[in-house]
């Protein structure tokens, strides 16, 4: 993990196999690309995932529901869970995006600086510590989160709904990290 250069800079991503050729794409593929949002339009990652357009469509809707849902755990804290897991999995691209979102939402660049320098065990205030610990344990294969992490989250004020929101974000990045890490690689923007 320490060998990887984590950053909050904007990165690009290049696929290792041929993405869908957009001029030759089907109507279904073009519709799903359009639905995926403006950031997808020129992204090799989205163009690659368009090889299975129905799966991409559902995944994008799920992603939005988990990361941008209005109720429950503050968005910044979902981003922190995603960031901790991305660091542990060594996903430089995912880390760059979600650490940046955390900084923008929480106005706390110091938290990310500490995580990059010292790893997910870095000293954090109790609420963020409990969130990082649960995320790190759930990120493991098999998941290792247990009663101790649940108790810690409850002690810092998370409701069961909040815990589900955090768990869903971490679970989602078990998915996203694996796609990003195994289908291509980050490159400078």
């Amino acid at each position: 993990m320490s060998a990887r250069a984590f950053t909050t800079d904007v990165l690009d991503w290049a696929a290792w196999i041929a993405p869908v050729d957009i001029p030759g794409a089907s109507v279904e593929q073009l519709t799903v690309l359009e639905e995926s949002g403006p950031h997808a339009r020129n992204s090799q990652y989205y163009h690659l995932l368009l090889h299975d357009a129905p799966a991409l469509r559902e995944r994008s809707l799920l992603f939005n529901a988990i990361m941008y849902g209005l109720k429950g755990l503050p968005r910044a804290e979902r981003e922190l869970g995603a960031t901790v897991e991305s660091i542990l999995n060594g996903c430089v691209y995912c880390t760059s995006v979600h650490a940046r979102f955390f900084v923008q939402l929480a106005k706390r660049p110091d938290v990310i600086e500490r995580l990059f320098a010292e790893g997910p065990a870095a000293e954090l205030e109790p609420r963020l510590r409990a969130i990082a610990d649960f995320s790190a344990k759930l990120a493991r294969t098999p998941p290792a989160s247990g009663p101790e992490e649940i108790r810690a989250l409850r002690n810092v004020g998370l409701t069961n709904e909040d815990i589900v929101d955090l768990a869903n974000a971490v679970a989602l990045f078990a998915w996203a990290n694996r796609l990003m890490l195994t289908l291509g690689e980050p490159k400078p923007a």
Binding site: H51, R59, L61, A65, P142, I163, V164
Partner: protein, 159 residues
């Protein structure tokens, strides 16, 4: 069928209608629905082209096993068994399926070690780009699914 029977995470996590976990999941209806529709996109359309259905279920079973998610592993084993009925299985694990399962192991356990060569190895077994994308989505989706299920179980146990 009740909404529970139609939802794989509910059905394999012992979520019963009207239970606290049912209410907890109902608080995020879009997440629940899109989790199931993601499953459906990867597994219920199997047979309509792309990665063959028996490979989809075999790889999902493997990923669930690697996570020690036994009820989900049984779920995929059962779907694999249904799929394999009437299909010739004498060949056992083909070189192609062995390559797919090896890839599943790496993506599940050591995703940061993956390289372009891993995708070349799949291509050498005849997998096209679309099949490689579907395979990757399945491996990564099950990694998501087991963590959602494990977290629900944990919350229920320590409610």
């Amino acid at each position: 069928m009740s909404h529970i029977a139609e939802d794989v995470i509910d059905a394999t996590s012992g979520v019963t209608e009207g239970s606290p976990l049912d209410a907890l999941r109902a608080a995020r209806p879009e997440v629940r629905a899109r989790t199931q529709s993601s499953y459906a996109a990867l597994f219920d359309s199997a047979g309509s082209g792309g990665l063959p259905a028996h490979e989809r279920f075999a790889v999902a079973m493997r990923v669930a096993q690697l996570h020690k998610a036994s009820t989900l592993a049984v779920h995929y084993r059962d779907r694999l068994a249904l799929e394999a009925q009437g299909e010739q299985t004498a060949a056992g694990v083909t070189a192609r399926l062995a390559a797919i399962l090896r890839h599943a192991d790496k993506v599940t356990l050591r995703p940061a070690d993956a390289t372009r060569a891993d995708l070349n190895a799949l291509a050498a077994q005849g997998l096209g780009e679309a099949e490689i994308v579907t395979l990757s989505q399945i491996i990564a989706f099950v990694a998501y699914q087991v963590r959602v299920a494990a977290s629900l179980a944990l919350i229920a146990e320590f409610a």
